[in-house]
Amino acid sequence: MNNFGVIEVASTRTTNAPGWAYVPDNGPQHSSLQQPTNRKRARNQAANPSHVDVNARQEARIRKELDVLDRDGPRDVHIPIPPKPKSKDGGGSSRAGQNTSKSTPNVRKILQSQKTFANHLDDYLALSETNAGAAAAQKKPETSLRPASKSTGAKQEDTSMADVPAEGVAATEDTLLPVSDRPRPAAHPLDNDPLLVSRVPPMPSDEELRALMSAPPLTYLEARAGWKEEDQKYPVRVFCEVCGYWGRVKCIKCGTRVCALECLDTHKEECVTRYGL
């Protein structure tokens, strides 16, 4: 029997009227207890904002809001490049004139490209994926069939890597982090006191450091900050959408967080216009 979250409790006092109480509705496990048989109902209940704090709908809303925050301007404006002032053309024609006639196909392509950063990133991801696939596919036949002419591509890379002067990695100094040549501070009688002695972790060896320094840069997405266990140690803070104080109360209708009754009233006006009564 589905009684809409109202559970009868037996009271000690006997009254004619049936006793009942509102019980706190603690999260999603409650809804799964009820086991709806209807598929449609199951779907709707899963998306019911009163059960899960961040559900699909809210997730989508957050993503949309983040996209808006990430945009450069409030609206999409296209500002064309203004024409150069006439007076400048006379003086600077030596350069300006040259450029228009001399620009190489590469440059023309770059200048005419209307790609945004997101386009470039997508291209890059697609390219690296196909490359990875191709490399995996190529590797097998090459190693088994003809190890002698072991892929011209790899060879090229090797030679050209050597070609690039190694002055970067094998810097002129002998060690990457030389030991300080400053005089050590004067000895103190309590230097060996176990309570005062400070433990300094050993420095990594030079080879270790060199390996670290010669590692290639991460890709754009790899360098992005993650969402680690450390960050999930505390629950995500929620704020009142009206005034910015802690979001202690949730609107029953849409799940928006507000701080208290006053802000809830303000929110409800908006909520009614958006979702109806």
Binding site: V68, P74, G91, V107, S198, Y220
Partner: protein, 449 residues
């Protein structure tokens, strides 16, 4: 291809170097010659093409002629820190550097270009950049360097005011350094050893000045006036009024109005948090202004009366928790639902890939650069949060240079004055001889990169 000579005689590199920190919000540009001992500060040029209400367009530094910043719209060639739209970027560079009447005129064929780029760029964007520099502008030689790593070319210990013997001379680049570069597009954490970034430990948080300005726009539009078409004014408000709270809970409590019918004491008096921001109208008042919250003007009727009495017609925004919840995004990006770790955790994430022997050195030398470093309390808050995360024995020192915005440029200028620049640069002949892929590899494992 003809067989290469054993060592092609290199022409002497041009003595003049254009050091360019091509930020998303502002360009920092200036010329450096090795014989100069002290360099003049760089010019700071807005890196945008702007259009005001009257549909007048300003390119780069022309915006200083603009009188009315209401409803101004910007087009920026740099997206996420990388030069994406070369059409616009070329226009700005030409007007600033190459045209006959450019304010910083230079002849690229006799100039070395030292260009700072953010870490973890896309290869295609780097290639585009190399091609434009050599094929379109024709610089004689060019070095593309990791921007944060350039900050090692400072007397870092002077920033921390480390006491030292009077005869000690600072050696450049600094040995160990952790650079936190918090700019317009993002915030990056880069450990730097001897002027070179440790690539596997570079981390990026996608919170920067742009996101914070947009967030402030949203808050103000919800609570006060619709500011969505005034990015310039919102940015001014952010720069002048926002701060990083050292006691977030307390400040939030102090700025709360209370529940229905209740008005808290702190809310009425401002509680030390509230400030009034007088909006510019671009007729009588060209600049917005922050002033202390005036409780007597709180009620609307009084406000009107006061306006009539003074005769001045001013629009005032009362800023309360907007002042500190906006920069708070750097430390808690999850406040707006971003699934990324905050800045202190990001530093730990970066350290976790490094051998533990490097931790003490890095933690004791954390330098914050970039415009967000100017927020009040940013340094103290970051230090406080990192101290809570690292082992007790570690000394944590966080500092910012005198001017965090031009710090990267100044580091680049110091590099340009040293002999190491020659080893970093690629000349035009080398580019034409070896091609773009060689150049890309050379920059990928060069000294300064």
């Amino acid at each position: 291809m003809a067989p290469r000579k054993s060592k092609p005689s290199r022409p002497p590199p041009p003595s003049r170097t254009l050091v360019l920190d091509n930020g998303a919000h502002t360009l920092k540009a200036g010329f450096v010659s090795p014989d100069e001992t002290s360099s003049s500060p760089p010019r700071i040029i807005p890196n945008c093409i702007a259009r005001d209400r009257d549909r007048h367009t300003y390119v780069g530094s022309e915006i200083s002629q603009c009188k009315d910043f209401g409803e101004i719209a910007f087009r920026r060639p740099v997206e996420k820190g990388f030069i994406v739209n070369w059409e616009a970027q070329k226009e700005i560079w030409e007007r600033e550097f190459f045209d006959a009447k450019a304010p910083q005129q230079c002849d690229p064929s006799e100039t070395t270009l030292l260009l700072a780029e953010p870490p973890n760029s896309l290869p295609v964007l780097q290639t585009n950049c190399d091609q434009m520099v050599f094929e379109e502008f024709g610089f004689a030689s060019y070095a593309r360097c990791n921007g944060p790593a350039l900050n090692a070319w400072h007397d870092v210990q002077a920033i921390f005011r480390t006491p030292r013997a009077p005869d000690m001379v600072a050696q450049l680049p600094a040995e160990v350094l952790m650079v936190i570069d918090s700019g317009y597009s993002h915030t990056t954490v880069t450990p730097v050893l001897r002027g070179r970034p440790v690539h596997p430990a570079v981390r990026r948080l996608d919170v920067g000045g742009k996101l914070m300005s947009n967030y402030l726009t949203r808050l103000l539009s919800l609570r006060h006036y619709d500011m969505r078409n005034d990015p310039y004014i919102v940015n001014e408000i952010k720069e002048q009024a926002c701060y990083v709270s050292l006691d977030f809970k307390g400040d939030l409590e102090r700025s709360w109005k209370g529940t229905r019918g209740e008005r808290r004491e702190d809310f009425l008096t401002g509680g030390g948090v509230a400030r009034d921001y007088v909006l510019p109208d671009f007729h009588t008042r060209m600049k917005g202004m922050v002033r202390n919250y005036d409780p007597s003007q709180n009620s609307r009727a009084k406000k009107l009366a006061a306006a009539r009495a003074v005769g001045a017609n001013e629009d005032v925004l009362t800023l309360r928790n907007e002042r500190f919840t906006v920069p708070e995004l750097l430390f808690h990006p999850s406040d707006i639902g971003m699934r990324q770790s905050g800045l202190a955790n990001l530093v730990m994430e970066s350290l976790s890939v490094l051998p533990i022997g490097l931790w003490p050195g890095l933690l004791a030398n954390i330098v914050v650069v970039g415009g967000n470093g100017l927020f009040d309390g940013f340094i103290q808050r970051l230090q406080k949060e990192i101290v809570q995360l690292v082992p007790d024995e570690c000394i944590v020192r966080v500092a910012r240079p005198a001017d965090p915005i031009t710090s990267t440029w100044l580091g680049g200028a110091n590099l340009a004055k040293s002999e190491e620049l020659a080893g970093l640069c690629i000349t035009k002949q080398e580019y034409e001889e070896h091609g773009g892929a060689w150049v890309a590899r050379k920059f990928a494992n060069g000294v300064g990169d």
